[in-house]
């Protein structure tokens, strides 16, 4: 009898999961059919001004820094020195030389600091004010180098697993004057703010759609903005303490989202409102 009950319970939960899944799928397609800004986005096409940031980033990557060396000749993004193609799709990852899990932005800062660049100033203007910062240009270029590559973060090193778990905990952690977590806005299908559909980052589909299109050219700012910028702005709106650039918390949250987007084909830099 006990086994039978367990069997029923399993069957029931499987059924519920299927029903839940199909309901979510229906919700998703209905929402996109009714998406009031779909026409706007379709008309924007693929002519994305992010291409200028990518070019500037490529130039920076190949420009000698204070010490006379270039990033291209010294920086290892995880696939070997100077290897850019597909590197972003496997980030964040654990780096032996720093003993840390790093995302693309944190890694670029490490590489720049080794070349004698004034990284304090660089990080200080990480989110360009009216104009794009060097980190944003470099990020745009390096992300573009993984266009068309499926996301594949390994989680093979214990530190990577730890970062993922921490990121997940942060995603669901409610805090601040509004008692908000990331999940408050981003763990249900069909939620929106004004006309903007909010990605459901708790599902693989939602996480892939969002993660693979960031960094993005932000129309409202006329600049390319990075994933860490996006996360920091979510923190600001949740009235949480400022998310420090390249901090373990920022990298962990990025790790959670990157892993959730596993298999999603990168199409960034994207084009966003």
């Amino acid at each position: 009898m006990a086994i039978g009950n367990r069997g029923w319970a399993l069957w029931l939960s499987a059924l519920l999961a299927i029903a839940g899944g199909s309901l979510a799928a229906i919700g998703w397609s209905q929402d996109s059919a009714q998406d009031p800004v779909a026409e706007y986005r379709a008309m924007m096409g693929d002519d994305n001004p992010a291409v200028f940031a990518e070019d500037r980033g490529k130039e920076l990557w190949n420009t000698a820094q204070a010490g006379g060396k270039t990033l291209a000749a010294t920086c290892d993004l995880g696939l070997g020195v100077g290897k850019t193609r597909g590197a972003y799709a496997a980030l964040p990852r654990y780096f032996k030389d720093t003993g840390k899990v790093q995302d693309l932005e944190a890694r670029v800062v490490t590489c720049l600091s080794r070349l004698g660049a004034d990284t304090a100033t660089l990080v200080g203007k990480r989110f360009g004010d009216g104009s794009e910062s060097e980190l944003e240009s470099l990020t745009a270029y390096l992300v573009e180098q993984s266009r068309g590559v499926p996301m594949a973060v390994a989680l093979s090193h214990p530190q990577e697993r730890k970062a993922y778990d921490l990121g997940k905990a942060i995603f669901y952690y409610r805090a601040g004057t509004h008692d908000f977590s990331c999940a408050t806005c981003h763990s249900q299908a069909g939620k929106r703010i004004r006309l903007q559909m909010l990605p459901d980052l708790a599902t693989p589909e939602g996480a892939r759609a969002a993660y693979t299109t960031w960094p993005a050219y932000r129309i409202s700012q006329g600049e390319v903005r990075t994933m860490e910028w996006r996360l920091a702005d979510c923190f600001r709106q949740q009235r949480l303490p400022e998310l420090e650039y390249g901090s373990p918390a920022a990298v962990a949250l990025t790790m959670f989202l990157a892993k959730s987007a596993d298999g999603g084909v990168l199409a960034a830099p994207g084009l966003k409102r």
């Binding site: 009031p36 800004v37 026409e39 706007y40 986005r41 008309m43 924007m44 096409g45 703010i193 004004r194 006309l195 903007q196 909010l198 932000r218 129309i219 409202s220 700012q221 006329g222 903005r225 702005d233 600001r236 709106q237 409102r273």
Partner: protein, 161 residues
């Protein structure tokens, strides 16, 4: 009530007559426009205008007629007014100018495209629209000025930046 209604009907009739007058009055001015194209130094003048009528005047015209031969493609809802894609096709023969006008912008004229022989009367670009308003595609041909318009609702989607 009946008086009001009659007044209203009378006005409508009058409007029709006025429209006819405007139609005939257009001809002499049109001739003038044809003989005196915009001088090189005057290309910035139309950008000082704050209404569609003033824009047409600055281009040397008098009035413009609505035309079904102008196809104005613009999104019904723009997610951000800073970048609104606009595509204009004119099927009017002899199209030599296509302009984009937004009367609620600080300057009504956004852009003017001069179309030489051999270039299609088609243009695609992106403009800023200050607030929800009609976007006008203004076209000049050998026969005068014509236009089509479309309401574009400007929203700010999502939160913050």
């Amino acid at each position: 009530m009946t008086v009001d209604r009659r007044k209203f009907l009378g006005l409508t009739g009058g409007g029709g007559v006025l429209a006819l007058c405007a139609g005939t009055g257009l001809l002499p001015r049109l001739a003038a426009a044809l003989t005196s194209p915009l001088a090189a130094g005057d290309t910035r003048k139309p950008f000082e205008a704050s209404t569609l009528d003033a824009v047409i005047k600055a281009f040397g015209g008098a009035a413009s007629q609505a035309s079904g031969d102008i196809d104005l493609r613009a999104p019904e809802i723009a997610e951000n007014g800073a970048v609104v894609p606009i595509e204009i096709t004119s099927k009017l023969p002899g199209t030599k100018l296509i302009a984009i006008v937004s009367e609620k912008n600080p300057h009504a004229l956004s852009a003017a495209f001069h179309i030489p022989e051999g270039t299609e009367a088609w243009i695609s670009t992106r403009v800023k629209i200050a607030e929800t308003s009609n976007v006008v595609a203004l076209v000049q041909t050998d026969k005068g000025f014509f236009h089509a318009e479309r309401l574009v609702k400007v929203t700010l989607g999502g939160c913050g930046g």
